[in-house]
């Protein structure tokens, strides 16, 4: 027999060790646990443990552990009953500043976790939960942008003293009509100067009209901004839901995927995803807010609100200068003195009103009011959840007007962090465009558990059937193939855990299918060996010839399957992708184990037995 190089043994031994290490976390199971984060989605401070301990202590619950784990605050508990009781107690006592979610914390030992070994992710179809695909109404975004043209451009022309004879909206364009060509030319220059993002056109069949459109890039930018803003808004809202591992992700140009493991109550989620939030700029009234707050008598024409920070009372005038619908853009920036600021862009209507207001009120305070209507869940004395709609109204900033401004302006007097947060809030507060649910998949928890159980059973029985057949059919060589098959399974699971692939039901089917097809390489090799033996080759020469001659065949046939799997991965979505991932990894691991793995074992068995008469194949 040809010598089998040492490095191949070493590679094989290393892959066995690494494979076992990284596949191992899937064997330990989970602890029922409660995951806590701040309302802003951050990790609570280290001292938080005491507070949690106190709450749990007063509820008579003894946690297994209580502390930060990989960027999350995790409280592990004995069983589901304790988990639910702990979550209820924590929700009640920690209040709205913290988000409490049920989770399953893997029981992976610390030394494995230090190596970066984690169990596979389970797809929604295996653990239950909801999946939404939301589509952002792009037409609405464009329509509103065109409406702004029809609104803003005439205002500019009036300011410049250029007279037009008519204006209207035609499809995706705003159209202005002029009495003569000079005015049109003047208007064209003025518009191009003020609004470089618009494209202007004079149609040849009507030489005295000017068509104003959003330039291609501008239209794309506006849509992109709207989708991005919706994404941020939805992410913030989902964080308030108390879901352990939510996924909010952009998909393509105008879609957003929201996946919430473990959530069953889709009605509540739909309420929340569609909730409307607005932002208002209002003048601060001159009356004393503390008197109004203590006496309960609010002066005519004003409303009493409280600040988000510190809960101080603020009296605001009823009249809204600019609202969330007027907001086009917001970003954290620096003002002319280098101090932190938020730059805000308003649409035409908002800008006009803002201009009129600031012109008369330099030096006076103006407030930013955040309003959101959402459905929240509270807990009564018995710990039962009560759903109610509630309107949140908070003053997020009060600052002095420093000068006259309109379309674009800065809000200053903030710390750098505040400026950043405000910009985020301005953006995240309201949905920039309506969203429509275009796909929904909800899997009940019993269905998920059934799927896992059935998938495991099918995999086990399928595996056993193949193993028994191979042992009977190829005797000792069959056992060697079976060892390779087991290693293949371990490597497949290890690879999926390592890249944190999501295991879905079709993914399990892919694993099972891979097990059935993985023996193909060994079948090819063994049949070749049998042929060589029948031709009268010496047993060990037959082994070598079998492996060598079968290799190209295996490579050719597996690569074609690989092409199909890769295409499936590229074009598939959701569960189908999961199937493609397992199939692809399975092809790679099965080639490795069937060719290198079995050959190494056979070499170990037959090394030095050159006078062999027959082979147990």
């Amino acid at each position: 027999m040809k010598p089998f190089p040492l490095w191949k043994y070493l590679v094989l031994a290393a892959s066995v060790v690494v494979g076992m290490l990284f596949a191992a976390p899937n064997l330990f199971g989970d602890d029922p646990s409660v995951q806590i984060s701040t309302a802003a989605g951050e990790l609570p401070p280290p001292t938080f443990g005491e507070q949690v301990g106190k709450v749990l202590g007063s509820a008579g619950i003894e946690p297994l552990s209580n502390g930060p784990e990989e960027g999350r605050w995790i409280v592990r508990l004995d069983d589901e009953t304790a988990q639910l009781a702990a979550a209820d107690a924590l929700r009640r006592d920690l209040g709205r500043d913290y988000v409490v979610a049920l989770n399953l914390a893997p029981k992976t030992p610390q030394w494995l976790r230090d190596l970066g070994a984690q169990p596979m992710n389970l797809g929604l179809d295996l653990r239950g939960g909801v999946h939404f695909l939301l589509e952002v109404d792009v037409d609405d975004v464009r329509t509103r942008a065109v409406e702004r043209i029809v609104d803003e451009v005439p205002a500019l022309l009036r300011k410049e003293g250029i007279r037009y004879s008519g204006r209207r909206q035609a499809g995706d364009a705003g159209v202005l009509e002029f009495a003569d060509a000079e005015r049109l030319e003047a208007a064209r220059r003025a518009i191009a100067g003020e609004f470089p993002e618009y494209s202007l056109e004079v149609p040849p069949q009507a030489p005295l009209t000017l068509q104003i459109r959003l330039s291609e890039e501008e239209a794309k930018r506006i849509v992109d901004f709207a989708v991005q803003q919706n994404l941020t808004t939805l992410r913030n809202r989902v964080n308030q839901l108390g879901v352990a591992e939510p996924l909010v992700q952009r998909q393509g140009a105008d879609r957003i995927v929201v996946q919430l493991p473990g959530v069953q109550d889709t009605t509540r989620v739909k309420d929340l995803l569609g909730a409307t939030a607005t932002l208002e700029y209002r003048a601060v009234a001159e009356d004393d807010p503390y008197t109004a707050a203590s006496s309960g008598i609010v002066p005519v024409g004003t409303q009493l609100f409280y600040t988000r920070d510190g809960n101080r009372p603020v009296l605001l005038k009823r009249e809204v200068i600019a609202g969330g619908v007027n907001l086009i853009d917001a970003a954290a920036t620096v003002d002319e003195n280098g101090g932190p600021a938020v730059s805000v862009t308003l649409d035409g209507v908002g800008a006009k009103r803002m201009f009129a207001f600031t012109e008369k009120n330099v030096g006076k305070p103006m407030a930013v009011l955040f309003k959101e209507r959402e459905v929240i869940t509270n807990y009564n004395a018995k710990g039962e959840p009560i759903r109610e709609q509630r309107q949140i109204e908070e003053v997020i900033s009060v600052a002095s007007v420093r000068g006259v401004f309109g379309k674009r302006f800065q809000t200053t007097g903030l710390t750098s962090k505040e400026a950043h947060d405000l910009a985020l809030l301005l953006k995240a507060g309201a949905l920039a465009a309506p969203v429509v649910i275009v796909e929904e998949r909800t899997i009940g928890p019993s269905m998920g558990a059934d799927n896992i159980e059935r998938g495991q059973l099918a995999a086990l029985i399928g595996f056993l059937a193949v193993v028994v057949f191979m042992a009977v059919y190829y005797r000792l060589f069959g056992l060697v193939a079976n060892a390779a098959l087991l290693l293949n399974l371990i490597l497949l699971v290890a690879a999926m855990s390592l890249i944190q692939a999501t295991l879905t039901m079709p993914g399990i089917a892919g694993i099972v299918l891979t097990l059935g097809m993985a023996v193909d390489a060994n079948v090819l090799i063994y049949e070749r060996i049998r042929e060589e033996l029948a031709r009268g080759s010496a047993p060990l020469a037959a082994v070598d010839a079998g492996y060598d001659r079968a290799f190209l065949t295996i490579a050719d046939s597996q690569i074609t399957t690989l092409i199909a799997a890769v295409v499936l991965f590229a074009l598939g979505s959701g569960p189908v992708k999961g199937f493609a991932v397992t199939l692809t990894i399975g092809i790679a691991t099965s080639m490795f184990t069937a060719i290198i793995g079995t050959r190494a074992i056979i070499h170990l068995i037959y090394r030095g037995k050159s006078r062999l008469r027959d082979l147990p194949v």
């Binding site: 939404f132 695909l133 589509e135 069953q264 889709t266 739909k270 429509v436 649910i437 275009v438 796909e439 929904e440 998949r441 899997i443 009940g444 269905m447 799927n451 059935r454 998938g455 099918a458 399928g462 595996f463 193949v466 057949f469 191979m470 059919y473 005797r475 039901m505 079709p506 089917a509 099972v512 299918l513 059935g516 097809m517 023996v519 193909d520 079948v523 090819l524 049949e527 049998r530 042929e531 029948a534 190209l552 065949t553 050719d556 046939s557 074609t560 399957t561 092409i563 199909a564 799997a565 295409v567 499936l568 590229a570 074009l571 598939g572 959701g574 569960p575 189908v576 199937f579 493609a580």
Partner: protein, 309 residues
């Protein structure tokens, strides 16, 4: 143990006329079935709402229908799914864009029943999304076939590539025709299964082609028909064994893995059976028909170096 006590000597190529004739007939039938009877597409492709609920005892279908009728759901189909405790409710896609609200309304309507059922799953797919998934699926199959065509043409020769594609398309059409004939629902996992069938069937065909290539170079005096016959016979044991182990696990999936992958398993079982048949009769017969010769498979002649000084 051996399935075949020695390498058999079956004259497969003599059977190629009736076999290919049968295949052609079945393919035409499959195309007709797909065209006229149509695939029973799942909501992944058509859009619509699907709700699966589970009752503690045998489910009263009539009451479910009544509860839905009271809530004004027209065209709801209600049927048992797997067991008599599980009920599957389907609603056609609506023009109304906000049909996500429908799934909520269906659950509310069923919640009024006594005893109230447990929710197993809800699926809602907008019709535009469904169309996209169907187009993407078709594209996936097309790109897979093109990619494989290029690889096989590169590794073998265009006659083999063409033969492999004919055999593969034959298998995919057969599976689709089977689904159309029996009206089995065709959903996303099933589409994945059809693509896996394409992979399997090619794998099988390539193994035989590989042997044909080898034998063309080894058996210099044999006619192409003889070479192909010998090759199919030599690989027959492997073809049967691999097909067998794959079928073992597929049958396990079919019976044990539950409804989620039921149709997936059916597509693959049918596909593996027809794929095995086609790699022997269709794929090999095609290359004979296309007039493959020994010269086609010789390695390309080395560039002449004689005239070097």
């Amino acid at each position: 143990m051996r399935i075949l006590s020695r390498v058999p000597n079956i004259d497969f190529m003599r059977l190629r006329v009736p076999a290919v004739g049968l295949s052609a007939l079945l393919t035409v039938l499959a195309v007709l079935l797909i065209a006229f009877r149509g695939l029973s597409l799942g909501i992944d492709f058509t859009g619509g709402v699907l709700v699966e609920v589970s009752y503690p005892q045998s489910a009263p279908l009539e009451e479910v229908r009544e509860a839905l009728a009271r809530a004004d759901f027209e065209g709801a189909s209600v049927q048992y799914f797997g067991t008599s405790q599980d009920v599957l409710i389907r609603l056609p896609p609506t023009a109304d864009n906000d049909s996500a609200a429908i799934s909520t309304a269906v659950l509310d309507a069923l919640g009024t029943m006594e005893p109230a059922p447990e929710l197993r799953r809800v699926e809602f797919v907008g019709s535009a999304v469904g169309d996209e998934l169907a187009v993407d699926g078709g594209l996936a199959a097309l790109f897979a076939i093109i990619g494989i065509l290029i690889y096989v043409a590169f590794r073998f020769e265009w006659k083999f590539a063409l033969g492999a594609i004919v055999a593969t398309v034959h298998d995919a059409l057969f599976v689709l025709g089977w689904f159309a004939l029996l009206g089995i629902e065709f959903d996303l996992p099933t589409l994945a299964a059809v693509l896996a069938v394409i992979g399997y069937s090619l794998n099988d065909t390539i193994v035989i082609y590989d042997r044909i290539r080898e034998n063309f170079l080894d058996l210099r005096k044999a006619s192409p028909s003889e070479v192909i016959n010998v090759s199919v016979n030599q690989t027959l044991a492997r073809t049967i064994v691999t097909g067998g182990t794959t079928l073992f696990v597929l049958v396990a999936l079919f019976y044990l893995a539950g409804s989620a992958v039921h149709n997936f398993a059916i597509a693959l079982i049918v596909g593996v059976l027809v794929g095995t048949y086609s790699s022997i009769f269709v794929g090999s017969a095609m290359v004979l028909w296309l007039g493959v010769t020994r010269e086609d498979l010789l390695p390309p002649a080395e560039t002449e170096v004689d005239d070097m000084p």
